[in-house]
Subunit: 260 residues, 4 copies
């Protein structure tokens, strides 16, 4: 029986500004990537998001961003590896306190936006961040979005890395993703079929009709998509039909972390 | 043999701006109150400050402030008890991660500036903060600057509160302190004598020549005073002469926490 | 023929976070209070808001807030009169540059949230702000929400103050307003009738059925109300029926500024 | 008779953090580049800096930076041309209000740190900023640090660009500057000689002993250099001896702006 995680970015509201539909989406996911207060989120939002996750048995991870709230952490900046490491450690610690307050602990780290891109492009930055994570808690899972970062994470003894795939946006033949600035509604059947394909075959059909390997143990869904809840419902139905088990990252990474 | 702690605010630099003489003062203190990144400090400064403290065997505590960097956390704001609680939890968590990264852990909490005043004036705010601290780590010590907060802290089972005194600024007859906007140099002998008096008698002479009770187990020194290092050296000499032991708050609070 | 202004808070989005329905509301108002980047708004939002206003012939004013983005400028803080003055001057200048870029100029100043409350409660703060406004541009209009500030504004030679009223929330007998945390939908006929009453009689019926004086030349509408556009349409119809002329504050204040 | 401007970065303090020795340096310069509150400076610092400049007859310009206070605006970020343009317009406007409050007006624009580098490397960004400046005030002077930006500025009809040189750090043969992370003390005679050489010959000797053209009408001095005041005194003496007139940028750019 295959076990899969469904992760989603959460806690991206800030002060009086609301973003996302966290309360609607949380019941359908198993791991929440919670913004750490730099690009999005604030102490109050973090507390509420962690409490909501706990209520639904959802594992929480930190979704650390660059200190660029005006740009929502989506603009790469010439920060050094040490600076990025310290930004991750800071936000990881902050989330850990809220997790502790709700009787839980942080299970994973998934860098957000431009910080993710910087780690993907610079192994030196990626290594610094992995070191930072290990210094704080060697049991954390690193949720890797691409192969380059996954490889860096694998260099670290003990660090558990889990590879993630996408089903509500499409892959190109080269494995890259067709990012949509404004998510369009998607066909629930197709999305669910891709989820099953990744879970059971470790492959997915690209936009060109090719089949490529996506050896993911977690699938990221966009909670802000126009029919996100519908897609998640379809995934849950398909999961039941195909005897796929859903579980938070912490349970997945406990087993064979090197499926990829 | 009496054991006393010497605490000092540290890590108040921010980005390219330097504040304080942390490297000069750290060798003489036993507990460092480290700014949490809201009113002062940033992730890099926090890492460096925690490392410097570890090097000198100094216990670290979080010195959380209001989210008002432009006002250095010195302006009271109409934040709710829940908001202030979340600010403390966030900054406490962030510092904890850097402490973990240097192999240590956070030993205490001492709110900064206007946040301290708000807790002192509103028991409801003080209680919310104590609750927040306990939710994160029930072993933390609350460093109490005045009797009102000390009393609130004492309501909480298990929460260890330590009362602090001052020796480089003077007390009035009513126990209030004569705060100096710009610290003037002080006479080292007088300052050291006040330290010994608090440590051995639990009393101090006010500016009017009266003797009042200051049942403190920790003394706060101003690291930015013009002759701070000279004062600290005089305290250390006096401490040796009077057989007073210096130790971080965590050791002091382990014993009889109810000296006050 | 009576001339009235309709003002509304605008430009409260920030970075990736959207707030309000500026594009829908702008066609119905005559003056826009544009957030200055402290509590809400950012340079890009300011440029877009000023351009949208220019497109609809709407006068722009600055809606300066306290430097508290996390609290949306709604928490009073112990800032000095000089500090608040400088916050207003800074944000006024910033908006002026965007106004100049769109060929217009700033016509008025209306402090936001807690800053407004601070000026209302402390004449010293209010005076400092009026001085700041006059130093930058003596032709600006001060949009006064209550009698206390209006009186302070009237102390300043040359400063034009305009008093504003409300029609989508109710007055109490003492002239205070029943603020709604979450605006409820309102009856368009009632709202329009109140607008006409203020415009033609200078009075409004309170929630208790009393009639009180509201000598306003401008009416503030809440753009985020659930049926804001419907209310504005009803006001526009009533305005046509009653031969009331709508015009930006700059035209109103040019005439007899002392209607109140 | 040659006229030269001496410009210096000013107003880089923030809240309780002090940077630079503005009061000591201001008497010796003719143009001040005032931080606009994004990378450094705040409303209060801006008011004080503008007042200090006015007292000494020093022209003020805006020294706009990226919205990265933690990095002091020294880290390039993937901001679009439109974003950078809006950051410049916002800060320019804010400074203009303080200038107006002290009876003056902003004379020039000199982008700071990483923003300067971004404009130098991307003509598209540089053009967007020049457009933004012209939209706000076509009479502003653009203080150009390198030839590439100077050329872009020259594309704009009416925009006055002035080229600046350096005398307290050295040039390489290719015209690039040897930037010092921590300024070392310099020989006053040598620095003054370089100033005279630029002013009267439009050339300077490089670190390799070559002579290169530096057709500057303004010289930038580092106010935070360890012997900045001594260097400025030597420049003033040399200027008197060589009949060089010192004047703010606004007077220089009024004449033949195309000396370069």
């Amino acid at each position: 029986m295959v076990t899969m995680d469904i992760n989603c970015d959460m806690g991206e509201s800030f002060g009086n500004w609301t973003m996302g539909r966290d309360a609607e989406v949380m019941p359908y996911i198993t791991s929440a990537n919670v913004a750490g207060g730099f690009h999005a989120g604030d102490p109050h939002v973090m507390r509420e998001t962690v409490a909501l996750a706990a209520e639904h048995g959802v594992g929480v991870g930190v979704h650390p961003g660059l200190p660029d709230r005006m740009g929502f952490g989506r603009r790469k900046m010439d920060a050094t590896p040490e600076e990025v490491k310290d930004y991750v450690v800071y936000q990881l610690g902050a989330l850990s306190a809220f997790a502790a307050a709700s009787g839980a602990s942080v299970q994973h780290v998934k860098p957000h936006g431009a910080m993710y891109s910087m780690l993907s492009e610079s192994p030196e930055h990626a290594r610094a961040v992995m070191e930072g994570i290990q210094e704080v808690d060697p049991d954390l899972v690193y949720l890797a979005t691409d192969a380059r970062i996954y490889e860096v994470a694998r260099e670290f003894d003990g660090l558990r890395a889990v590879f993630e795939g996408y089903v509500d946006i499409r892959y190109r033949r080269d494995g890259s993703l067709i990012v949509e600035k404004q998510m369009r509604p998607k066909d629930p059947e197709e999305v669910a079929a891709r989820f099953v394909s990744i879970a059971t075959e470790g492959t997915v059909e690209t936009v060109d009709g090719e089949t490529i390997e996506v050896p993911a143990e977690s699938v990221c869904v966009h909670g802000d998509g126009p029919n996100a809840v519908e897609l998640l419902e379809a995934i849950h139905e398909a999961v039941d039909e195909h005897d796929i088990r859903l579980a938070p990252l912490s349970e997945i990474a406990r087993g064979d972390a090197d499926r990829r």
